[in-house]
């Protein structure tokens, strides 16, 4: 192990910023991060062991105790559940003879749940040693079980197990006319930097990651840099180190459009980043790719290499004097790393904890330098705009939402996949296209977004009405809203970074309170307590995760108050805790589960 780590550190130039990269390799090789490895890496990178331990503890894909040689993770997204995830994981556990959350005795295989892996259009999905598995069913599991029991190396597994489809169903403005590699950069050099920025301003392009900040403003602010530099001369301005980050963390359950864009439009995404570099003067870019998309990594590396060969990346791009290159950094299982400042912390080799703002990344981002962070789709759109002009884009959409939005549609519909719509399109139109019928409601923007009921389908996709980063999950009338809300609420509690009190404690309390109500242990007043807690978490949390973590409850409570009330017991007082639940340990110890070992919380409601 010593030599392995020594070599690894050397390949990574002993840079602490490469910590995640190093730990990913160690995890892949040893199936955990051994203590000796931590000590050795700390010495080699000259960082404290506590920084490494905290990173190992923070990211879901790092472990301080051994996992199986085959580490199986099953996606816990609501859409995977709708496709039969529970019976799949039970079957797996049975076939492989390993409990969920455990490692099999022989150390060959471990099985666990993981947050949405971004394969909602082809679930139930999972990961084996980080590589995506799709469309899991019993025959596939039988096959996987055999492969594991024979200890077949992953590269000898049949390719169809790893097949990920694009499912592009409705390409329009952007998806229909991918640019020729280099075309946007040529347009930039012909038109000039500030003129190209003016086209992007004219286009009205707003960030596609969810928040909807005007892209041109962001680029402009980054170019200006911190206030104290604003007065220095133009040459100093040009020398300022700046960074470009493409946010491909895509962790919002139900979102998978960036996966498809990176699979089939990578040139254009990289070109958008290079375009931005040319406009604001950056030399280094990063693609922060969620760990779940490991399967895309090699392909993306070769696209980057092609671009270097073609003079579209590297030194003196298109012989116009622009120097810019892009590095791919993989995440390690943390939804919070999609938040731009947490993402930057992660790029620096740390836990993904959102920073205090101000300062914003545009003035102090990666390594304290001005940094643009944009979504994959934003860069892709910018590249098209550079060629076709601002008016071309702005002629589509609504007043405040220009252009098109690429949606990831999944759930109860016959044609899940990628759809591109002009902003302003009604929800009903989308539903007709994707083959949804008997619809109960839709989750727009993922768990952090909004649940809308079937009375609201005339509402529109737009920042001024229903904003979305791309997630669009359809639920038909066979679905139980409280199950959905429960899944989302557990997701947020699992993904809270734990930095601030209202979200760290609040999301855990929301989970407890909701479990209590759904479990039928709530009584009068419990829904009020739930709502009060929601407001607290929403108003006082440090970042967008906490600020939206209560949305699943709030948006459904608003629409279906009776649903919550109907779960309450009709008693006038409120038991502080679950009496019967508290006896669980005693029952386990006594090895009893008969009626006499259970206690009724209250006198049963005879009149119910």
């Amino acid at each position: 192990m010593k030599q392995f780590i020594q070599d690894l550190a050397e390949t990574n130039r002993y840079q602490a910023t490469n910590l995640l990269r190093i730990l990913r390799e160690v995890q892949a090789r040893f199936h955990y991060i051994p203590e000796e490895a931590i000590e050795q890496i700390a010495g080699l990178l000259n960082i404290s062991r506590t920084q490494i331990i905290s990173v190992v503890d923070f990211y879901s894909f790092f472990h301080s105790t051994p996992r199986g040689q085959y580490e199986l993770l099953i996606s816990d997204s609501i859409t995977d559940h709708m496709l039969g995830k529970q019976s799949i994981i039970d079957y797996l556990s049975d076939k492989l003879n390993v409990a969920v959350g455990e490692v099999r005795e022989d150390g060959v295989v471990s099985l666990d749940n993981t947050s949405c892996t971004g394969m909602c259009d082809q679930g139930p999905a999972g990961l084996v040693n980080g590589y995506a598995l799709t469309r899991l069913d019993r025959p596939r599991i039988d096959q996987i079980t055999d492969l594991i029991n024979q200890q077949k190396p992953l590269d000898q597994w049949p390719a169809e197990l790893f097949l990920v489809e694009d499912n592009i169903r409705r390409p329009t403005l952007l998806l229909d006319q991918p640019i020729q590699p280099g075309a946007a950069l040529k347009a930039l050099f012909e038109r000039g930097g500030s003129e190209t920025l003016a086209e992007i301003t004219q286009s009205g392009l707003r960030g596609r990651g969810g928040a909807g900040y005007h892209t041109a403003w962001k680029w402009h602010l980054c170019y200006e840099g911190p206030e104290e530099d604003a007065f220095c001369d133009i040459d100093a301005q040009k020398q300022q180190q700046r960074y470009i980050v493409c946010n491909a963390d895509e962790g919002e359950p139900g979102t998978f459009k960036d996966r498809v864009l990176l699979n089939s439009y990578a040139h254009q995404v990289f070109e958008g980043m290079t375009l931005c570099a040319g406009i604001i003067g950056a030399q280094q870019g990063f693609l922060y790719l969620r760990g779940e998309y490991l399967h895309l990594c090699d392909k993306l590396q070769s696209v980057l290499e092609e671009r270097r060969q073609a003079g579209l990346l590297g030194n003196n791009i298109l012989k116009e004097g622009l120097n810019f290159d892009i590095e791919i950094c993989l995440g390690a299982g943390a939804y919070i790393c999609g938040e731009e400042s947490a993402l930057i912390e992660s790029l620096e080799g740390k836990m993904g904890i959102p920073r205090n703002r101000p300062p914003y990344p545009v003035t102090q981002g990666y390594l304290g330098k001005p940094t643009v962070v944009n979504n994959v789709e934003t860069f892709m759109a910018a590249a098209s705009i550079a060629i076709n002009g601002g008016d071309w884009f702005a002629s589509v959409g609504t007043e405040k939402s220009k252009g098109t939005k690429i949606l990831s549609i999944c759930g109860d519909c016959s044609r899940p996949g990628i759809y591109e719509y002009p902003f302003g399109t009604s929800i009903q139109t989308v539903l007709n296209d994707c083959g949804a019928s008997d619809v109960l409601g839709i989750q727009i923007g993922g768990p952090s977004g909004t649940f809308i009921s079937n009375h609201e389908f005339d509402r529109k996709l737009a920042f001024e009405d229903l904003a979305t980063g791309g997630s669009f999950i359809v639920f038909n009338k066979s679905r139980n809203i409280l199950d959905i809300v429960n899944n989302f609420t557990h997701f947020f509690a699992h993904e809270s970074c734990g930095f601030c009190t209202p979200c760290r404690v609040g999301t855990a309390l929301l989970k407890k309170q909701l479990d209590k109500i759904i479990g039928g242990h709530g009584s009068a007043g419990d829904v009020v307590v739930l709502e009060e807690l929601c407001q607290l978490v929403k108003s006082y949390s440090h970042c967008g995760l906490g600020q939206t973590a209560a949305n699943p409850i709030l948006t459904t409570l608003e629409r279906y108050p009776d649903l919550y009330q109907s779960r309450l017991k009709e008693i006038s007082y409120e038991p502080g805790f679950d009496l019967d639940g508290a006896l669980e340990t005693a029952r386990r110890m006594a090895n009893r589960n008969d009626a006499g070992a259970h206690l009724a919380q209250i006198e049963a409601n005879e009149h119910e």
């Binding site: 203590e35 000590e39 404290s48 062991r49 506590t50 920084q51 331990i53 905290s54 503890d57 923070f58 943390a334 836990m351 205090n356 101000p358 509690a493 699992h494 993904e495 809270s496 970074c497 734990g498 930095f499 601030c500 009190t501 209202p502 760290r504 404690v505 609040g506 999301t507 855990a508 309390l509 407890k512 309170q513 807690l533 607290l536 108003s539 006082y540 949390s541 440090h542 502080g576 805790f577």
Partner: protein, 239 residues
Amino acid sequence: MSKNITIDGKTIPFEDGQTIMDAAMAADIYIPHLCHQPEFTPHGSCKLCTIKVNGRNCTACTFPAMAGQEVLSETQELIDDRKKITQMLFVEGNHFCPACEKTGNCQLQAVAYHLNMLDDHFTHFYPSREMDASHADVMIDHNRCIFCTLCVRASQQKDGKDVFAISGRGINRHLIINSESGLLKDTDLDATDQAAHICPTGAILIKRTGYQVPIGERIYDHKEIDQVSLETEHHQHGE
């Protein structure tokens, strides 16, 4: 050139580079806080110091003062919600004040009194957490840690060491110790270090000193935390 903001209608001056907390303290206005001490880089995590700046919630300890800001602090809504945030901290750990050496000197307890917290309101977590009594002079009771990182910052910024860190995610966050064994005894922590004395609760204690000052004669037995804070932290500010 002096610039002003208002806090609850009162006009107060500030200097460039000051946070709203700095400006408030300089003007003898107390804003409840736990993870903040003027000597250290602000952290902004406990959220007790939340105020409304021009209608938007911000943390006073991190948010820069800017001319013309209208700040609200002692509104009923903010007072109630600060109380609930304090209650969250109580239910998250195991805080049994009557049995704690720090009672009467504890800022968590004092803030709770100040906010008129009379019960825990939320469901208790009763987490199972450890003690570390390995060090000759200093002990850690993880049950009382609120993850404010003051010890982390004090060790790095004042003691020139790096004894503590916070690890883990979400509700599993926890304090870790920088030694190969993970125990305090194997660090270079000294009982005279600032980090050993900075804990706002009773999570880090100096051994054999717990009852030198009798209960009833302790800091917050006679004074409220707002008064103590302004008296003791005021002079440190701006240094």
